[in-house]
Structure formats: structure tokens, C-alpha cells
Amino acid sequence: MPSNSFLGVFAKSPLKPLEKHIDLVHKCAKGLLPFFEAVFNNDWQEAEQLQRKISNLEKQADQVKRELRVSLPSGIFMPINRQDLLDLLSQQDKIANRAKDISGRVIGRELQLPPQMHDQFVEYLTRCLDATGQAQTVINELDELLETGFKGRELRLVEDMIAKLDTIEDDTDAMQVKMRRMLRTLEQDLNPVDVIFLYDIIEWIGDLADISERVGSRLELMLAG
């Protein structure tokens, strides 16, 4: 670009990379479903492969995160606060990190859930992934928000979406309590060390929804400012 034109004033939009990042993050988290399916079938080879896929997507998301960070010099002027945007990005990134931690821990210990829990566990995981999916949907509204100058109808629409994200997160909290209670009734028959890790896994999966909710609330803060 010839810098003797004034068009250097237009900087690269941070919104597209942000959307790309959450897309990758959600895809990464979604990888947990087939992963646990393989685990429940005791197919550890398949599970390992799926774990690599998750870890790969997490790396890609990291890459996008880094690129976005360097493309936001301090002299940039945006309709949204730069710090809010960076915070939002790091929250998004934590979802992918969590997904990688979960799959890594399960693979590392060849951790198996008691079969009685499988159905409810999948239900719980699916609900948590609903939350990451909702976070993705909300972030993908940034284009439209920009079109409307971050106000008006579109803003209210996004606020409703964030409210829905909160509802999903509430659901997962309730489900998490149930999962823990169930594990407690079964724990005397299980390897105590495994039980400790299973509690961790249940909590971490809940984290997926927790962090997604945080993505939503960061966005809300960003829009309020």
C-alpha cells in the first residue's frame, strides 16, 4: 500500500479474527463429544487421535490470538475499547485451553467414567457445549453490531442472546450438582485417585460453560462502554 495515500488510516479490522477465533474455539470444544464417545467405548486409539485433533485446534486458535494481539497497536482507534477486546479474546482462548486440558487429562490417565453415568454425562457435556455455541453465535454478531454503530435494535438482540447464554450456564450449574451427587453415590466402588480426577473433569466441563458466560459478560461490558 502506498503510504502517500491517506488510506493507511484504515487499520485491519479486529472483528473478523475475533470471530475466526471463537469459531475455532467452539470447534475445538465440540471435539469433546466424539472424544468421550470413544472413551466410553474403551477405544483409546481413536480417543488419542481425537485428542490430537482437539489439541491441534487449540493451537490454531492460539495462532489467531497471537496474530490479533500484534495487529492491535496502542495507537488504534476502535468503536470498542482495546483492553476490553483483548480481555474478551483471552477469555475465548481459555475455553479451548480447558477443552484441551480435559481431553489431555482423560487420555493421560485412561480415565473411565462409571457406565451408569454415561448418558447423563453426555447430556451435561452437550449442554455445556450449547453454551460455547451460544458464545460463538454472540461473537458472530459483531459484524452486525458494527453495521449499526453498536446500538439500537441489534444491540438489544445481542443482549438477549447474552441473557440466553446466562440461562444455559445456570442449567449446567444445576446439572453439575447432580453429576457430583451421582458420582458420590458411586465413589466407594471406584479407584479413589480416579474419583478425585473425575470430580476435576466434571468441574472442568462446567468451566466450558462458565467461561462462555464470561465471554458474554465481557462483551456486554464492551458494548456498554
Binding site: 502517500n4 484504515f10 479486529p14 472483528l15
Partner: protein, 421 residues
């Protein structure tokens, strides 16, 4: 006096040549700024941009460039100081053209965003203040011009903000943005047509030898505005909702309507650019011609020689034809996420401001005005990201341009004076 009689033709020829080259440089370089927004938001292809620029730059230069040309020709310098030595005015104006042209060439090669307007004003002030006398410069006028450089970006930013907000209110923040876009966009087109025509008729045409009455002027402006709106409406009605694109981005179809509007604002921008910037090249030339043809008498009232405005217009078009393609091509790729609805607000605001300034004879910088307009849209939270450090660089290079233009023209002035002495 003898010098003017014996070398008159050579002096006019030299001034015409340098002036033409300067216009050529403006066409090749500055047009990127005027047309870049349209190409960048993908409302126009490069070819379309070049064709529009050629037609409307010439029209702007020819029809509305007279007032600013007069300012540069005779508004900056107090001609009383040249009554006995009119040849010095001729030398100075040629030196100014050389200085501004050289500085622009160097700056373009180094990639600095300099302003043609600032270089020529700096150059003229330089030779007059140092080569003649500090009192030879009409400082009050200069203060006004420099003041306008600060005020016009602010005004155009404010207008851009208002236009953008009105588009939000009328179109984007409604139940059916597409329907409202179809309804209101022709009105913006009409508005653009109205302002341009009115300023041209009121201020520009008298230099071409046409003089219309006040009522006639308004009537013609309204007629043209309505005409533009109707033609625009015809093209807009051909746009269909693109359901697939709308799923990805709700406002994709709405932006298509704005893309048509941007064709109109691109014409305005080219016209405005032509009307204001042509004077930078031909204002000094006009002064030279004026002095030489009147045998050294510096006539205050003298009309512009008929061939000067079209010469500047042709220079701009020639520059466009030769280099515009390459320049616009490189910028087209650079801009991301500038949708037509934003580009239109910035362009319409800048074009309106520039054309009005042209009408009042103020030599302002098109680029500066455009930067102001873009920042205005940015303030309305309409643009994803702007580089303020680039804005700072632009401002710095503008400030630097004044003393450099002045210094160069002083050097050239004494050189030319030495040659003929």
C-alpha cells in the same frame, strides 16, 4: 518590463508546461485518495473508478475550479509590490510551481502523504515573503487559509457523523432495513446532486462565461437532484434481497443498495477534488499568463484565460490515465471492513465540504477533509479500526510541507531571477 516582452512566450510556455506536469502529478497521485474509499469498499471496480474520475475530475476542474484558481492567482500576494517589477511575480509563480512539483515528486517517491495545496501555498508565501518583502504577502488571507485547514476537517467530520447517524436512524435501526434503504438512499443521491450543482452554478460557472440568475440556479439544482434520485432509484430497484448473503451478514443486501449510492458519491468526490486541487497546478500559471498578456500590468479584474482551466483538467485526466490504474490497484487491496454505508458517509461529507470550500475560493486539502470525515464516522462507532498513528504522520507531513515548499521556492526564485538578470 523588457523581459516580459522579449521572453513572454517562453515564460508562458514554461509555466504552462510545469503547471501541466503538476496537474498530471495531482491526477496520478491524489486521485488515490479521492477514489480509494470507493474502490476499497468494493463499490466500484478499478476500471469504473478511473472512468468516473476522468469525467468528474475534469468537470470539477473546468466547471468549478475557477474560484480557487483566482485565490491562488491573486489572493495570496499583494500585487501592489509588483507594479514596478511584474516580472518578479512571473518568476515567483514559476518558482512556486517548480518547488511544489519537485517536493511532491520527492514525497511520492518516499511514500510521504503530503498535500498539494500545502506545498503550493507554502511555496508562494515563501518566494513572496523572502524574495520580495514580508509585507507582499496578504497575511490576513493566509491566516484564513491556514485556519480553513484546521476547520474543514472538523466540519467534514461533523457532517460525516450526522450523515452516518441519519443513515442509522432511517435505515439500519429499523424493522426492515432493506426496504428503508431502497426508500431513503435515492434521497441521499439527490442531496449530493443538489449540493454539487448549486455550488457549481453559484460559484463556478461564471469563470466559464455562463451566468445564471439566483432562481434559475436553484431551479436547475433541484431538477438535477430529482433527476439523479430517479436514475438512482431505477438502479436500486433492480437489487434483489440476497438471502444467502444475508444469513452470513444480516445487512449484506442493504450494503448492496449503498454500493449504488457510492457510485454517486464517488462522482461527487472526483468532482470536488477536481474543483479544489486543479488550482494548485494552474493558479500560478493563471497569474503568469495574466501578467504577461497584459504587458506587465497586474490587472485585478482580469478574467481567467479560457484555456487554463481545461489545461489543468486535461493534466489531471492524463495523470489518471497513465498512473491512476496502478495507484488505485494497490490501495484497493489494503482496506478491510469498510462497507459502502461507511464509505458513502465519509465521501459525501468530504465532497460537500470541499465543493463548498471551492465555491468560496478556499484552497483546502481534499485528503485532510477526507481524513476528517473518516474520523467522524469512526466517532460514530462505524469503523472497525483506525490507525491514529497514521493520522499523526499525515498531520506531521502536512506541517513539514509548508516550510519545505517555501524554502524550495525561494531557491528557485533566485535562480530564475539570476538567469534573466
Amino acid at each position: 518590463m523588457d523581459i516580459l516582452q522579449s521572453y513572454g512566450a517562453i515564460l508562458i510556455g514554461a509555466a504552462a508546461l510545469v503547471g501541466f506536469l503538476m496537474a498530471w502529478g495531482i491526477g496520478a497521485n491524489d486521485v488515490a485518495n479521492a477514489m480509494g474509499t470507493s474502490v476499497g469498499s468494493k463499490a466500484l471496480t478499478i476500471k469504473q473508478a478511473i472512468i468516473i474520475a476522468m469525467i468528474f475530475e475534469f468537470a470539477g476542474a473546468y466547471l468549478a475550479g475557477g474560484e480557487v484558481t483566482s485565490t491562488i492567482r491573486k489572493g495570496i500576494i499583494d500585487s501592489a509590490f509588483f507594479v514596478d517589477t511584474p516580472e518578479l511575480l512571473v518568476f515567483g509563480m514559476i518558482a512556486s510551481l517548480l518547488a511544489a512539483g519537485l517536493w511532491l515528486a520527492v514525497a511520492s517517491a518516499l511514500g510521504w502523504p503530503v498535500s498539494t495545496t500545502h506545498s503550493i501555498i507554502g511555496a508562494i508565501v515563501g518566494f513572496a515573503a523572502v524574495g520580495i518583502s514580508a509585507d507582499a504577502v496578504n497575511w490576513a488571507k493566509i491566516a484564513g487559509i491556514v485556519g480553513s485547514w484546521v476547520i474543514t476537517p472538523a466540519i467534514s467530520g461533523f457532517i460525516a457523523y450526522l450523515i452516518f447517524m441519519s443513515a442509522q436512524r432511517l435505515i439500519f435501526d429499523t424493522d426492515n432495513p432493506f426496504k428503508n434503504a431502497k426508500r431513503f438512499v435515492p434521497m441521499y443521491m439527490g442531496l449530493a446532486g443538489f449540493v454539487l450543482t448549486l455550488v457549481t452554478i453559484k460559484k463556478g460557472l461564471k469563470h466559464v462565461g455562463i451566468d445564471l440568475g439566483a432562481m434559475e440556479g436553484y431551479a436547475i439544482s433541484v431538477a438535477i437532484a430529482v433527476g439523479v434520485a430517479i436514475v438512482g432509484r431505477y438502479f436500486i430497484n433492480k437489487i434483489q434481497i440476497d438471502e444467502k448473503a444475508d444469513q452470513r451478514m444480516h445487512y449484506a443486501s442493504v450494503e448492496k443498495v449503498f454500493a449504488i449510492l457510492m457510485v454517486v458519491t464517488a462522482c461527487c468526490m472526483a468532482f470536488a477534488h477536481g474543483s479544489n486541487d486543479v488550482a494548485n497546478a494552474i493558479g500560478p500559471l493563471a497569474a503568469v499568463v495574466n501578467v504577461v498578456e497584459n504587458n506587465g500590468e497586474i490587472a485585478k479584474k482580469a478574467a481567467l484565460a479560457w484555456w487554463i482551466l481545461p489545461l489543468g483538467g486535461l493534466g489531471i485526466v492524463a495523470g489518471l490515465a497513465l498512473f491512476g490504474h496502478r495507484v488505485i490497484e494497490t490501495i484497493g487491496k489494503g482496506i478491510t471492513h469498510l462497507t459502502p454505508s461507511r464509505g458513502f458517509a465519509a465521501e459525501l461529507a468530504a465532497a460537500t465540504t470541499v465543493v463548498i470550500a471551492s465555491g468560496t475560493g478556499l484552497p483546502i486539502s481534499t485528503t485532510q477533509t477526507l481524513v476528517g470525515a473518516v474520523l467522524g464516522v469512526g466517532m460514530a462507532r462505524g469503523i472497525a479500526a483506525l490507525n491514529l498513528s497514521v493520522v499523526r504522520n499525515i498531520v506531521v507531513s502536512w506541517v513539514v510541507t509548508l516550510p519545505v515548499g517555501a524554502g524550495l521556492s525561494i531557491v528557485f526564485f533566485f535562480m530564475i531571477k539570476g538567469i534573466f538578470a
